[in-house]
Symmetry: C2
Subunit: 443 residues, 2 copies
């Protein structure tokens, strides 16, 4: 075993069958029902087999695609999917997204703590506010402005953490000789009367082996970084360049330091869409097979906007002229994807192939053989752009399998990824400390 | 197989380890953690082994006992416990309680429909308003009066049923040849703007094999009967006498008829605490071992009140004098338990043993050999006092095992209880029809 610092790896569960909304068409996928929990469990078990620390379950409640060819992004319900997966796995952790703008802290605290206990300490809550007015309508909620959302988010998260600690650490006795089940004087109700949140009561659930669920936070705004640096153990991000990763990670760590935390207690996780094939050409073609022509045409315009030059679908089949690329200026406030667009364009690909590189997408993609992806992860990790990565393969059945079988062994050979789980709980496997209640350093 | 009408059987999950708050002390129970999902799963599998149609998960969120010897009544979280149990069973259904006064219809609709699909159509929602001001405080909710609670309950339940049907029955295509995943023009959002409930949106989840979750309703008030007769497939009740059972079941069926339903579509389920032993004396002693002396003393006074005579703990060790019993008048508005109290008292038991008969409790008890319990169930069922029973054994590990091994075979020999599951879904096993959306006969 290497003594080097180890990277964390998670699998992104943002859709059924794969990160791509057309993954259902992939070979090996048989849609007999939908959503298919047995498929989800199979993918989770594959991630566990190669020792991923976590699954990350995103959530877009009630989102209906415009396109009949796509699977809804809401393929999973975070609470029940996490429970089912944790029943059918032994080591991997699950981070589930539940929004604070349309849920109740008592219900949330109870469900997550219950799952944490059931699973032996393997659940995390991805604590986000929710920011879509359309999603809010499902719940009959009118979305507040960003400032108020974060204000109420802090109240909500603190209430949840207080509720998690209402059962005294040593209250459970279960002593058949004395007949005492629990010392209920050690169960202390909360009395929360906030601007947004009210709650009077206690959760009669003892601590799990990791104390309480881990807090994740996905986002990228200054509000996000401020929240995650103070309250989260893991921040799930979107990173387009090494410099952007380093800057975000450092900002996050600085917030933690300012709050009195050890900055190593907050892990910054960057997204990656890896396409592993026998060659770059094969990877590009495979990735292209999931991309619609109308998306390609939209992105032709989009790339023009990002670079500040004029491009249309008529330019798709030829490279962008070098003299045009030479004129491109990437300023401090430009699209974070611009640098990557320019880098790929300079390699001389046609505009179509540039688009197939996913330079305009949710996350950067690596396309090529396993070493291509392993090298990207190694460089980003070793340069301090991330503490780990969440992997978003087009289709789990095929693309994720190749990542598992080909990329993970390279990372392990390089001593950058553990060969087995070191701990029993998600906290131990993430390298973040036991916690019970609100972090006292924050109050 | 008999052609006789068959009774339904369910196991009451209202506490950990058993219906009695001291079941944790029973032989065979090892409390290593609490709540212990593995114990819950073991009990559910036992109920499935003997072909019970359902488990009924009650809920008292955040209830902390006053007595250090008792397990909290909130041992389970209905959504996650149901999910875990359904992952580890194949046939039995689970009815989970979630209150409408402090939950959101979209979240509830989504979680239940998701579980229904995951489990192949084996979930039911016990749709109750919630009536405890103390529980409401956990959720920061101020409880409305009974009339408003039911008004909002109807809105909530109808919204949930509308949401369940937003995905058109035939919208899922998953046709790899045409590339069409779903015909989203068949997904119709709801636009609910009620007095209490607002929701605009759709649930992108296809029907389960039973269409949508079954609706249960537990209660006994006229409001309860009115709601259950219209909207529920199963009503979970408390029945102290044959006559009371017949009257309640008929009232329920009449509501169904008035609403245009076939009355056989609503099943009335009575509670029973069966204590199976080798003799009545042994059963009484076993049941007594779970009952505290302070409870016994309180119930001495309580029995006096119910009978309209004066009794104190000093009377515990002797029978109630026959001349006192002769004076007792049981009127139409008396405690429903009075008739049973009088019946047991007339058998000549000491007041202590009368109390050990659980004549003052949540449900009637049968104490004695297996035939004693089987006879009670047979008589109640054949007289039309119930369509089935939910069983509340003191301790699952011991008392439920005896029920399974000794009582169930007698009922099967009598042709009153099925020898195997007849259908794949909970609806089929309950004998209630497929449903998708709000019952059109009600609108």
């Amino acid at each position: 075993m290497s003594e080097k610092k180890q990277m964390l790896l998670g699998l992104g569960f943002t859709g059924a069958y794969g990160a791509n909304a057309k993954a259902w068409k992939s070979e090996g996928v048989t849609v007999t029902t939908y959503p298919d929990i047995n498929a989800d469990i199979r993918y989770a078990q594959l991630a566990e087999k190669c020792k991923f620390q976590f699954l990350f379950i995103g959530d877009f409640p009630g989102a209906i695609p415009d396109d009949n060819r796509e699977v809804p992004a809401m393929t999973l319900e975070p609470i029940i999917t996490a429970t089912a997966i944790l029943q059918q796995t032994k080591h991997i952790g699950v981070a589930s997204t539940v929004h604070t703008q349309w849920n109740n802290p008592f219900t949330l605290a109870r469900q997550f703590k219950g799952i944490d206990l059931m699973s032996g300490g393997r659940i995390a809550w991805n604590a986000v506010t929710g920011s879509s007015p359309k999603v809010a309508e499902n719940f009959g909620v009118k979305l507040m402005d960003s400032r108020s959302r974060y204000e109420s988010h802090y109240e909500f998260v603190e209430t949840v953490q207080h509720l998690w600690a209402t059962w005294g650490k040593d209250a459970l006795k279960a002593d058949k000789e004395t007949g005492i089940f629990a010392d209920y004087s050690q169960v202390k109700p909360v009395h929360i009367s906030g601007k947004y949140i009210q709650a009077i009561g206690a959760l009669p659930i003892p601590p799990s082996p990791q104390g309480q669920p881990v807090i994740f936070h996905s986002g990228g705004s200054p509000n996000s970084i401020e929240f995650a640096g103070r309250y989260a153990s893991v921040m799930i991000g979107e990173v387009w360049t090494r410099e952007q990763g380093i800057a975000t990670r450092n900002a996050l760590r600085q917030v933690a330091i300012d709050a009195g935390r050890n900055p190593d207690e907050i892990k910054f996780i960057a997204g990656l869409m890896p396409v592993v094939a026998n060659s770059k050409r094969e990877a590009i073609d495979r990735h292209a097979s999931f991309m619609d022509e109308n998306i390609v045409q939209q992105r032709a315009f989009h790339i023009g906007m990002v670079l500040g030059i004029s491009l249309t679908p008529e330019d798709l089949e030829r490279p962008i002229a070098p003299e045009l690329l030479d004129k491109v200026k990437i300023g401090a406030y430009s699209d974070p994807r611009a640098e990557n667009v320019l880098k790929v364009a300079r390699e001389g690909w046609t505009l179509r192939d540039i688009i197939y590189h996913s330079v305009i997408d949710y996350h950067p993609a690596t396309l090529g053989d396993a070493k291509e992806t392993a090298d990207y992860l190694t460089e980003m990790f070793e340069s301090g752009a991330a503490d780990g990565f969440w992997i978003l393969p087009d289709a789990y059945e095929t693309d994720f399998k190749r990542f598992v079988e080909e990329v993970v062994p390279i990372l392990q050979e390089r001593g950058l990824f553990h060969e087995d789980y070191n701990g029993d709980t998600l906290r131990e496997n993430l390298g973040v400390p036991y916690q019970y209640g609100v972090d006292k350093r924050l109050s």
